[in-house]
């Protein structure tokens, strides 16, 4: 885990929820956990932390639930896991939210399954030739079982159909409900009249199969996306306002007017857009531009809300009220973008829109034709009902979700979390992949790429100094030096916009901008680069550092693979032109744009959409969140900001980008299987409808035909190619044995 992506204590606290008195629970996603030894290692690492009362890893969902004491400091959960060899990310409460609908569906399915199995048992003996008294008794028992089951399990369809009819629409549930109710009523009537046929088995199996499909579909439906809420939550609720007479009061954000002066201490976010009046600080602008390099702000500079003050203290004159701030603007942009995508209609819905009017008119026509031909209302009704039942969209209802569930499982095995079934359909349509640069194609934090300080006393000193600062450059230096012995530091001081200094073993070390560190002397040529940072001892140059953002593992391969799939590639960056151009040429990307603001990224995506393209956006930063919502389909790495992760359709848990072509390939396979399944279901219907219209459908035939089609569709979905790549499993096995060895120690 890179230091830049570790969530702050506040963020952990916000993502936690109270479970008992004084105990908070935090959910972590640990995608690399996969075996029994992992359970021991993960839980052991978490339980050893101070304040943690219980830790539990769920191997199926690869999520760890940690309970810890609220009063103490926040335990370094992610750090402990990283040390044990597991990358983990915070799993926010919104993503984990309870799902009452799922429980309702499973209970209804269980009840329908219970009734269907028992009625089928009785029906088999009727079909086998049970006669007279016995048959009537069996029908009666079936009726007693079917009635409550239909009322309990079928209500999900009835309610949905009723809602559709009330708003003068029709959906798949309307023919289903009519079919179920008519068949039930006719069967009850026949049971009372001691008739030879009853359709209780067909009715309950119909409900059972449909509910299985519905449950799977629900599993794939989008969960509530609270991206926008998350954005607002990151902002401070208020700010310290300095009145003209010098008194300081803490006011809620909404009450602060333009022209007011607010104080922003080190470690706080800037609450409102404005200009610096006094003070100086380095600002982390990741929220605004997505770039990791901090900007120095001095008196007179304009600052935007959402920037994080890394050091120093600032007094800001507010330029705009809260409703007009940069963050508010982003929130509005995301909401607007969401609306655009909501227009996408899922394949299953489009199929249903064609399907239900067709079935309605067919059943009605069958009834009228038979009525006109034979004049026997009972016979006509039986034919109409058998048309409704035999064309039941069971197979149709299973065709799409079954494939998507299998595909989602395959993706999960590869470390890709799918949030929404329709995303898989949209992903298969994507024809251009748009990457963000910093944090997506690259790792997003500067790494030391050149260091002229020799290991020894000076390097230890600089590591000790750097470990005291939050500046990304300092963190990179501290990470480079590792955890060697650190000398004592006296008189540590952080000078915003310049660097850090401290006295070690009597010498004054300065780390920072060349002109400041050398005390006004001109910089040594060749060191004054974009992030040129030098170390001086008592004013004399001892060495310099250079930083750059390194590409994410597998970036090049992944881009090659995406090209191989026939998709175009573009890069949109908020960074400077030279930096973007360098990265683009090193990765072989021809089309790129640099220096973009969030709205420019959206504009580019809309331009692509107007030209008929379906862009897949891969991005991570908060500044990418609106673009992620605006794109046809979007992905974010797990290291992305909370909001970015929430706005994306797919989240990549691994650190490599190869997952992107992997997901694209899986989506295309899924689309092929879905189409096959739909074709199977339609072909099957074309085959049985004439039989039903001719009036040859007996209860036995209806039951067999219905089950067969569903089984066929499910079997086809299970043909989904398994995860094959041998190297990946080998690697897994290797790390597994390594971890076992670690645990044994």
């Amino acid at each position: 885990m890179q230091p830049g992506t570790v969530p702050s204590e506040e963020e952990i606290r916000l993502a936690s929820r109270a479970v008992e008195d004084g105990v908070l629970q935090t959910d972590l996603s640990v995608p690399s956990a996969h075996c029994g030894a992992c359970i021991a290692a993960v839980e052991g690492a978490l339980l050893r932390l101070n304040g943690v009362t219980s830790a539990r890893l769920n191997l199926s969902t690869r999520r760890a639930a940690v309970k810890w004491q609220k009063d103490g400091p926040v335990p370094p959960l992610l750090w402990a896991l990283a040390k044990a060899g597991y990358e983990a990310t915070l799993f926010t409460h919104e993503e984990a939210g309870a799902d009452p609908e799922m429980g309702r569906l499973i209970r209804a399915t269980a009840v329908a399954g219970f009734a269907a199995a028992n009625i089928m048992l009785l029906s088999v003996s009727v079909w086998a030739g049970a006669d007279g008294e016995t048959r009537n008794a069996f029908h009666l028992v079936s009726a007693l079982l079917a009635l409550p089951a239909v009322i309990y399990s079928g209500r999900l369809f009835f309610l949905s159909a009723w809602a559709a009819l009330k708003s003068r629409r029709t959906n798949m549930d309307v023919p289903i409900s009519i079919g179920i109710l008519l068949a039930l009523a006719l069967s009850l009537y026949d049971t009372m009249q001691d008739g030879p046929h009853a359709y209780f088995d067909a009715v309950t199996t119909l409900i059972f199969f449909l509910l299985v499909g519905r449950t799977l579909d629900h599993l794939m439906r989008r969960r509530a996306r609270r991206a926008v809420l998350g954005l607002a939550r990151m902002m401070p609720r208020g700010a310290t306002v300095i009145a003209p007479d010098g008194t300081r009061t803490y006011k809620p954000q909404t009450e602060i007017e333009a022209g007011a002066r607010v104080l922003v201490a080190a470690g706080e976010r800037i609450p409102l857009d404005g200009n610096v009046v006094s003070g100086a600080a380095d600002l982390d602008a990741a929220l605004v531009t997505g770039e990791a390099t901090p900007v120095a702000a001095r008196s007179g500079d304009a600052v935007l809300s959402g920037m994080l003050n890394l050091n120093g203290s600032l007094e800001i004159k507010v330029a705009r009220r809260a409703g007009e701030s940069f963050i508010a603007e982003m929130t509005r942009m995301m909401e607007a973008a969401e609306h655009g995508r909501a227009r996408y209609r899922r394949l299953a819905d489009r199929a249903a829109a064609l399907y239900s009017p067709f079935v309605h008119s067919l059943a009605a026509a069958a009834f009228l034709a038979w009525m006109w031909g034979s004049g026997d209302w009972h016979r006509s009704l039986t034919v109409a009902i058998s048309v409704l039942i035999i064309t039941c969209p069971c197979a149709l209802g299973l065709a799409v979700p079954m494939v998507q569930v299998v595909a989602a499982r395959r993706l999960f095995q590869r470390g890709i979390a799918l949030k929404d079934g329709s995303a898989l359909e949209r992903l298969a349509e994507a024809d251009v992949v748009v990457f963000d640069k910093t944090g997506t194609l690259t790792l997003g934090d500067p790494r030391v790429t050149e260091c002229s300080v020799l290991p020894g006393r000076d390097l230890d000193a600089v590591a000790a100094l750097a470990s005291l600062s939050r500046h990304p450059a300092s963190r990179a230096i501290a990470a480079l030096a590792g955890t060697r012995s650190r000398p004592q530091i006296k008189e540590f001081r952080e000078v915003p916009g310049c660097g850090i200094e401290g006295r070690i073993n009597g010498s004054l070390y300065r780390l920072g901008r060349p002109d400041w560190a050398l005390g006004g002397r001109p910089a040594v040529p060749g060191t004054d680069k974009a992030l040129g940072t030098i170390l001086s001892r008592d004013g004399a140059l001892t060495g310099y550092f250079e930083f750059s953002d390194i590409p994410r593992p597998q970036s090049g391969e992944a881009i090659e693979a995406i090209r191989g799939l026939g998709l175009a590639i573009e890069m949109l960056s908020g960074d400077r032109l030279e930096a973007a151009a360098r990265m683009a040429s090193s990765l072989g990307i021809e089309k790129f744009r640099a220096g973009l603001l969030p709205q420019d990224k959206i504009a580019r995506l809309q331009e692509l959409a107007r030209e008929g393209g379906k862009p897949l956006m891969v991005g991570d930063g908060l500044n990418d969140a609106p673009a992620l919502s605006a794109a046809h389909v979007s992905m974010a790495p797990a290291s992305a900001a909370d909001v970015g992760r929430a706005a994306a359709d797919l989240v990549l848990f691994g650190s490599g980008l190869m997952a992107v072509p992997e997901a694209l390939r899986t989506a295309v396979t899924a689309r092929r299987l879905v189409r096959q399944n739909l074709a199977l279901a339609v072909a099957y219907n074309l085959f049985v409808i004439p039989v039903a219209l001719a009036g040859y459908v007996t209860p036995l035939m209806a039951a067999v035909a219905m089950s067969m089609s569903s089984v066929l569709v499910v079997a086809n979905a299970l043909r989904f190619p398994a995860v094959k790549e041998r190297t990946a499993t080998d690697r897994m096995r290797k790390t597994a044995s390594l971890r076992t060895a670690e645990v044994a120690r």
Partner: protein
């Protein structure tokens, strides 16, 4: 025919027990971590209940 008077209620009763058992096990969180349960047998731990979200049940 008389034997059916006994057998059918018995069959239904057995199935009903299965249904109730399923609903109970689901509510109890028995299916929350199927992979973990298989591995935990091998670990030397006292507590082996699956994690359930207490706040959700209340």
């Amino acid at each position: 025919v008389t034997v059916l008077v006994w057998l059918i209620p018995i069959a239904l009763g057995m199935a009903a027990v299965a249904l109730v058992a399923f609903l109970w096990s689901m509510r109890n969180g028995q299916y929350d971590d199927l992979d973990g349960a298989a591995e935990r047998v091998l670990l030397d731990q006292k507590e082996d209940r699956p994690v359930t979200d207490d706040s959700r049940r209340r």
